[in-house]
Symmetry: C2
Subunit: 298 residues, 2 copies
């Protein structure tokens, strides 16, 4: 694997079908599943590692965001990537960028409403990565479902010739969706956080049993989270998979999204619901057999 | 020459160094000088022809903007292009685009202040053309100097791997800078419009003679235009070539920009001023020997 810091090097190393996995580092099995998918489907696999300042708001955790370059490089190499693109902030933004990419509509609710500027920062850096890397296929986790919808729309609107691939959520053995921020949770918060996935699994079962009401599915999730004193529900919303707009009724591909706070740590999770051969099929993602590498020395 | 309507076809036809000339059609010698420059420097020359609705404001001349596809195709082919990309509005925007590319700073004054949303529309469509065509070199006229500064900044901020090339202004034998909108001018307006280039040429001579004051250079141009009753000056501004910010004093690469109205027709012109071997050298562009093809049957 080659580790490089400029877009020109990344492009020079790409041959055949180029698969791209953007990350902010501090990798876990969710990221590695994206690398594995790219490895199966592409000739060159490029992973970027960049904690993008543009997508953090004032008072958010930019400075304390977990970083461990040596660990990440080892994990990316073991996962079979060909190129690790790890630019410095100075290389990405030699001067304060004046250009912003904004996606309207898709970003209006949920995370977009809670984190002003966040999605502009994501859209701008992802557009920059697409422009500079020129990938054929780009891999994103479904955990950030609204982000995925936004990236799909941005790539289509700007005609980037890259296919956007969404991969299933990866979970701890107890159901908690993987996030680099999970390392912030203390034991009590960790236990309370299980109520999120528990609520989503219950809602998924309700979908399979025939429930179609957005309000009822949201209620199932919300009541699970609200039953835990150690965690505070922000929202539970059934949303259109493509537009991220709230849905009263499950009548198109959707995701049921939850945001909650465990102390200062923001947790996101969701279940994707697709229509397959006339049936509504929830996808709760995949579960690890053992504890995540997030907590292990490499 | 191949005429195509999709980005995939454009990319498939590009080999070697790809040169790109974006246009809104109704071509004149200014556009053709860009095609000629691309022809000299690139292996594949792609010209786009698309009247971009996003960059026209309410009440502007989108519907009446001159169009003649047969004429343009012939001119592009004669100029030696390999590919003409002429998408329909439906092909460029299958649904109303939600994504906007905005460049702050560079667009704050002059045309940006007069035409709200105009530069967002330009930045968005140019980003889309860069993303979809993946050119190595992209050619723009210096007549739209603020636009050129914005495009340079956008391409750098978003890491598009295309070199932005600015080409000299092309003028009628009497000095008027070429613009597709010149066909709107009646004889009296056409005569009055000469005061713009006359003022710029006088300012250029003043620069050569040692004048460095922005205010004085602006005064020279403004007094020329104001002396003509048939034309109304909007602004005359000495601006930083890269940031498009007003300059009190000629102490870095700059352009002296004019905007004026002849009836309903907006006219732009400028002189670029560069520092070459310690001297400030104005570039007033090139003059045609004969009347522009704008007024001829092809």
């Amino acid at each position: 694997m080659r580790t490089v810091a400029t877009f020109a090097e990344v492009r020079a190393l790409g041959s055949g079908i180029v698969g791209f996995v953007p990350t902010m580092g501090y990798l876990h099995e969710g990221h590695l599943s994206l690398v594995a998918a790219a490895r199966r489907e592409c000739d060159t696999v490029t992973v970027s590692l960049f904690v993008n300042p543009l997508q953090f708001g004032p008072g958010e955790d930019l400075d304390s965001y977990p970083r461990d370059f040596g660990r990440d490089r080892l994990l990316v190499e073991r996962a079979g990537a060909d190129v690790l693109f790890a630019p410095s902030v100075e290389e990405m933004y030699p001067s304060a960028p004046l250009t912003t990419v904004t996606v309207a509509g898709v970003t209006a609710g949920m995370e977009g409403a809670r984190r002003p500027g966040h999605f502009d920062g994501v859209a701008t850096v992802v557009a920059k990565l697409f422009a500079g890397i020129e990938p054929d296929r780009s891999y994103f986790g479904r955990k950030d479902a609204q982000q995925l919808a936004m990236v799909r729309r941005m790539a289509a609107d700007l005609s980037f010739p890259t296919r956007i691939v969404g991969e299933p959520i990866v979970r701890e053995p107890d159901g908690l969706s993987l996030s680099s921020r999970n390392i912030y949770l203390d034991d009590a918060q960790r236990t309370a956080a299980r109520s999120i996935s528990r609520g989503l699994f219950a809602a998924a079962e309700a979908v399979t049993a025939g429930e179609r009401s957005g309000r009822e599915l949201e209620r199932i999730v919300a009541s699970s989270v609200r039953a835990e004193p150690g965690i505070e529900l922000d929202y539970a919303v059934l949303a259109d998979r493509d537009t991220a707009e709230p849905l009263g009724c499950l009548d198109r591909p959707a995701f049921l999204a939850v945001a909650a706070a465990a102390g200062a740590t923001r947790l996101l999770d969701n279940v994707h619901i697709d229509r397959i051969e006339g049936e509504w099929v929830p996808d709760v993602g995949v579960r690890l057999d053992t504890r995540s590498i997030l907590y292990k020395e490499t």
